[in-house]
């Protein structure tokens, strides 16, 4: 690398303890100037958003995640008060749990089971791993983030005998997300089986008057915290969704918020070359031609940041992966995101990054502070941390040599403040990039189709079960499809029958036929 190009494109903020280096992105000298008009428009869009404009037009919603760490920016006193009150409530509740003033059936809480999916789990999982410590955490966190019964049973097996000291937080804005509802019911069944009153161990984070909210009131849960329609799931880490589990774990949530607010200050300025969020968005635009032509590989050289790529996968892909732009034009936008951590991933796929298909750009994340306490000398006076940095610098240079581009972010250390900064940086980069490509970053219209299809699948399954229960005869897929008629799709019928037959408790017995599709299925309580 040229030292001059590096110096020219190295942005440092002493206040943040944060640097960004875009010198290894090979954009031409006039690129930034050529993007001046669009990035200024993006800044204006962002200003309007922060002032309470309807930045999510399809859903007719304001987009207010920046207010969470700056309540005075919220466009009404009611909102300001709600944000401050929620923060107070979280702190008070956490203090009550830590002080043993609120406890479980078997004593003070030692575990926390969070039930949520997508934006209601990825942020908490990331922060839990980034800032947790097995000996210092006030509660140990566990997650139900799927509707896999075996997955949940495995988590519950790990909590065996401890449910009476396990606090359970159920997170769902609508209160009707099926995976989360199922998780809650599976947890409830486990508490009940252990002779415990689930309600006395349960907390809801949900929209006011949602199904979950009313259930929590009816059953007398310990506490309810709000989810607001102006905070999207993927930007809810600094709302109650992220702050409550963090506070319960013992993380300094004020430092998380302060870090985000500090990054907001720096990334609000309209001089792009001093604004890391703007530079990030511009580099994405440069690298992918504003059309998602390259994948974004996230490579933090720090174990604690391993889940950051998963967190960003949601934040970026769900925000940017859109069919239509704001003018209704079909654009099929998005940027694919993947990555785990270095130097581990060097032993997994750096081979392809260095030599293979050049369809990506890397974002390295460097953490300067290696560890607490005295390092172990490993070789020639070097520490494990020296090697970690050495591998990062070596790999970056080996990629650069082969014309593979990279951005480098550097933070001084892993702390609640720096984690808050990273979250805020990417939230704003996503918002600015969305303006550059003229899309709504705050809705997710494509998710509905799969949910609707899933719901028809379950309806069909019910018809199949009902038919088999009332049919004395053993039937083939084609016979069942024919009898069900209209709604039926033989392939789906086949898939559903195979699933039923593989689960003995469902009492559907399968008899093999001459070929795969002439097997017959019958209801039989002896199928077990």
């Amino acid at each position: 690398m040229s030292w001059n190009r590096f110096k020219k494109h190295f942005l440092h903020s002493a206040d943040l303890g944060f640097s960004m280096d875009i010198s290894r992105m090979n954009f031409p000298d006039d690129f930034l100037a050529s993007m001046e008009e669009p990035i200024q428009k993006a800044f204006s869009d962002m200003e309007a958003l922060e002032k309470g404009a309807i930045a999510n037009p399809d859903e007719n919603r304001m987009v207010g995640h920046y207010w969470l760490r700056n309540p005075e920016l919220a466009p009404s006193e009611n909102l300001q008060r709600a944000i401050r009150q929620n923060l107070e409530d979280i702190k008070t509740f956490a203090a009550n749990i830590h002080g043993g003033h609120v406890e479980g059936a078997s004593g003070p809480f030692t575990n926390l089971l969070l039930i949520g999916i997508g934006g209601s789990a990825l942020g908490p999982q990331f922060v839990n791993q980034a800032l947790g410590h097995p000996q210092r955490d006030k509660l140990a966190l566990h997650f139900f983030d799927n509707t896999d019964p075996d997955g949940m049973q495995t988590i519950l097996a790990g909590l065996n005998g401890q449910l009476g000291r396990t606090l359970c937080i159920v997170v769902s804005k609508s209160g009707s997300t099926a995976e989360t509802r199922n998780g809650m019911l599976e947890a409830q069944a486990a508490y009940t089986a252990a002779g415990l009153d689930f309600a006395k161990h349960a907390v809801a984070i949900t929209g006011e008057e949602s199904q979950l909210d009313r259930l929590a009131v009816d059953q007398g849960w310990l506490k309810r915290f709000p989810m607001w329609d102006w905070v999207g799931g993927r930007t809810s880490e600094l709302a109650g969704v992220g702050l409550l589990p963090a506070a319960l774990q013992g993380i300094d949530i004020h430092a998380l918020l302060d870090g985000a607010a500090a990054m907001d200050r720096v990334t609000r300025q309209r001089e792009a070359k001093k604004n890391p969020a703007a530079l990030l968005a511009l580099m994405w635009f440069y690298a992918t031609q504003g059309r998602g032509e390259k994948d974004m590989v996230i490579l933090p050289y720090k174990d604690r940041l391993m889940l950051f790529s998963k967190y960003l996968q949601q934040l970026i892909m769900e925000s940017l992966g859109k069919e239509s732009d704001l003018d209704g034009k079909t654009v099929n936008q998005g940027i694919a995101v993947y990555g785990n951590k270095g130097s581990t991933d060097q032993h997994a796929y750096i081979q392809q990054l260095r030599e293979g298909v050049n369809n990506f750009f890397v974002t390295f994340i460097e953490v300067l502070r290696d560890q607490e306490g005295e390092p172990v000398p490993v070789e020639d006076g070097f520490t494990s941390g020296d090697f970690l940095q050495g591998f990062f610098l070596g790999t970056r240079s080996a990629l650069h040599e082969n014309k593979r581009e990279s951005i480098t972010l550097t933070i001084k250390q892993i702390s609640p403040r720096s984690i808050g900064m990273l979250v805020a940086l990417y939230e704003r980069a996503v918002g600015l990039y969305a303006s550059l490509i003229n899309i709504n970053a705050y809705h997710q219209p494509g998710v509905e189709a799969g949910k609707k299809a899933a719901s028809s699948v379950l309806k069909l399954k019910k018809k199949i079960i009902d038919l088999l229960r009332s049919s004395p005869e053993s039937l083939t897929v084609d016979q069942i499809s024919e009898q069900i008629g209209n709604d039926s799709d033989p392939e789906l019928v086949f898939k559903l029958l195979e699933h039923l037959a593989a689960n003995p408790q469902r009492n559907i017995a399968k008899t093999e036929g001459n070929d795969q599709f002439s097997a017959t299925y019958v209801f039989s309580t002896s199928a077990k």
Copy 2:
């Protein structure tokens, strides 16, 4: 979907309890016929490989991972005997550990700390999660898979007070992988600090006569197991690397091997349309145009398979991501792989998959058996498992509707046998695909460049430290670069100094200058 197309392209093996559906890949009717000649050549290459040909020409090595589950295929009696003996040794050692005949300083072993990286960790991590159970596992597994000192300290904090019952396995073929060597030294330091003799808790899996092998002999470690040069790291899950931790955890390793052997039998047949590994390779070729033009998204609908995509990321990207083909032509091959698990990922990035940039194909993995024991009814007679399948089928159909292609693999249940099958399926698909695109799947020449660069980085760091230690004056980056001369790159000098200054134990004090690059650095024992 058309029921007829589905039936035509649905491959089922009753023996394996395995199905594969390629009907949602939109290849033209003549595609398979058009690939007949190349796939027959791939079968022949594979036959030669299995017979002991030098299938890794650059490194002049045989490629023998298929022999591990079929020792009688190995091309010499010595090799056959070595494979069988190793398996016996693993079983005997595991029995001794489980029976308490070999124990730690504080009693029978309850924990296992595996130190390895890349192929020496990804397989064991995947299998540990896929087949583990908190109440049934005979040892609880922990991993050092990086040279991040803080990451290692965090694992050790979780093992605090238990090291005297923690068995430590160090895995490195060459015995000189720096990350693993560092991990071993960090672990050793922790055992020593706890007043324990590391050697009495340590096992090596390594190449004969390697640095690690000699160390283990010198220090009198509990046991050494071999790693052979004819088994690559990314195909070592069914060698000692994977089998020893699995056996210690209590997993039926014979079932793992049997599953792989059964899949080998089915995927050895030369009729492509009956061979799932061949069909997989052909679908990759179709989807990516044989040039990595699309990403492979791996979506298992099962929590236990969450690490499979990470395992495949290595297996596929490190095998296929190559600059040159076997004739020395520059081809820049590879397929990018990412994914976690469904339905969780539906709440993360399915938005982009359905609506956004169409640069991927999905591989769904369906598991028919939901769980052990009685399911919890969640709605209308449905179980959490019904919802999981419903979301899988719904999402697959929503993607198909928008012309996003997918392959579906179905296994009856998660078991040692089915995990062995999946490993074998992908090992062979990778090998066949490598033949289709005429590359060596078994070397990793691109990894060396980063390692070499890292080594020069450390050399430069040593020069900087030596210079500062002997210099009474505080120096700038430019001054230090100049004094070091030849080997110096000011950007690297800057990065290394920033790292040293951020770690107080390194005794390098930084004084800020007028700008970011005029700061000065000096050796000072009061820097702490």
